[in-house]
Amino acid sequence: MYVAVKGGERAIENAHRLLAHERRGEREVPELTLAQISEQLALGVDRVMAEGSLYDRELAALAIKQARGDLIEAIFLVRAFRATLPRFGATEPVDTGNMQIRRRISATFKDIPGGQILGPTFDYTHRLLDPQLAEGFVPEAPATGETSSAETPRVTDILAHDGLIEASPPAEADAPIGDLTREPLSFPADRDLRLQNLARADEGFLLALGYSTQRGYGRNHPFAGEIRFGEVDVEFFAEDAGFAVPLGRIELTECQMVNQFKGSATEAPCFTRGYGLAFGQSERKTMSMALVDRALRARELGEEVRAPAQDEEFVMSHSDNVQATGFVEHLKLPHYVDFQSELGLLRRLRKEFTDANASEPLQEAAE
């Protein structure tokens, strides 16, 4: 129960003033600019865009600055901002096959057409802290190589060519596309809604669930068929112009997991798939997403639903870190009246207990 409480206005005002002071930190240290955050803390910005579910680098950088680097708080700020803008419509679906690739790797085929392209990655670094970075480090200019005009087809397309992997669920003309920002979740949820939920889900939550599937809680034998990161064109059908207008480009990461096969008396066995797609360079996120997407297909694929990662209601209801933090953190708001009533009840119960024990010692002993 919530009861209006008055008072504390000055304390609140002063607390926010103190927060602003602490956020700025030692005044002799130069203030962070949004460009510095966007350029040098780029993966934090990517995470805030993905989970804030709003692609806007500058806003995400501002949110990180305002939240003092608390990414969930920053995501919360971005979600709140988003609610202030009108929606013009939905874009044409982006074509990740036509991505300008900055990174593209496959763990299933060494010699994929277009090659294995490492791009800017932490992989194969030694994870040793680099004291050089502490101050004034100027990195070498990046090496350049011969660009190739070779196509970089999706690995799943190559497998699909031989019928070795299931096809993606086809687009159905005029089929409505679920949007959880417009309608409350209901279960069972279709894959479009599940993927939207996972695309904005907390990375840590997805990572833990994905990990749990690998350890045996809903095992589905994944291979990282392909991970790609780069820029895709975004187009929007503008009714006023009468055609699809280019809006510019956004960075996306896509992960195609290749999983254990299915088959039946009438259908030849083939690999199944899990899919991950998110804003920015979000490799851990999209890999985890693809694992969980595949786990959530248990019902569709006739698998026994036993593990948390296979339970769509459990996953989808707890994946959103803004909702989660809201409910967990609301516990610190005043519950004085609630608590007083519990306290009153507990005192009465204890008194009854004491009275009962004091008045009926013999009967109790006899029992």
């Binding site: 982006v94 687009a171 112009a241």
Partner: protein, 178 residues
């Protein structure tokens, strides 16, 4: 004044196809090719900085024009496809600015761009209107869009070359040699 344009061409938040009656004299092929050119121009402009577009425009004679739709910010829901090629789903939203500009000769240009830059949307709309004018189409293509396209491609090529340097060349280690 503004009211009369509103009557002339009905703009709405999302819907209502703007009647392109005045361009009907063009053949279907001409319309298609002009539309392709407009789209190509918009793609370059949307990926350029507002300051660069503005600098290019400031060096040329501009047609008389008015802002038909004041620049505004909003959102689009970005869609992907399941598995990259399947049924569409919603990834998340992106910020967008848009505007419309009317030339005194009647052409209406539309400006759309990712981000929250009113001026950029207005400049794109102006360029798009000019791209539809027989008197200004060549000039805006040559003096604004073409140089920005060159810069855009140069940047893209540089990124592609840096990326290409990280392509793995596998070699097989042969036992007992070397």
């Amino acid at each position: 004044m503004k009211q009369s344009w509103r009557l002339l061409i009905k703009l709405s938040s999302i819907i209502d196809n703007f009647s392109q009656a005045r361009f009907r004299e063009m053949t279907k092929t001409e319309q298609d090719s002009r539309r392709a050119q407009r789209r190509a121009g918009m793609a370059v402009l949307a990926q350029s900085d507002a300051a660069d577009i503005s600098a290019r425009l400031s060096e040329m004679a501009l047609p008389a024009h008015k802002t038909l739709r004041e620049p505004e910010n909003g959102l689009v829901m970005v869609r992907g496809r399941v598995g990259g090629d399947g049924a569409p789903f919603n990834i998340g939203e992106a910020t967008v600015s848009r505007a419309a500009v009317l030339l005194s000769t009647g052409q209406v240009g539309f400006g759309y761009t990712l981000g929250r830059d009113h001026e950029k949307a207005r400049l794109i709309a102006l360029c798009d209107a000019m791209a539809q004018s027989d008197d200004f189409a060549d000039a805006v293509e040559q003096e604004v869009i073409a140089p920005l396209r060159t810069a855009m491609i140069a940047k893209r090529d540089r990124v592609a070359a840096e990326t290409a340097a990280t392509r793995v060349d596998f070699y097989t280690m042969v036992r007992g040699e070397g």
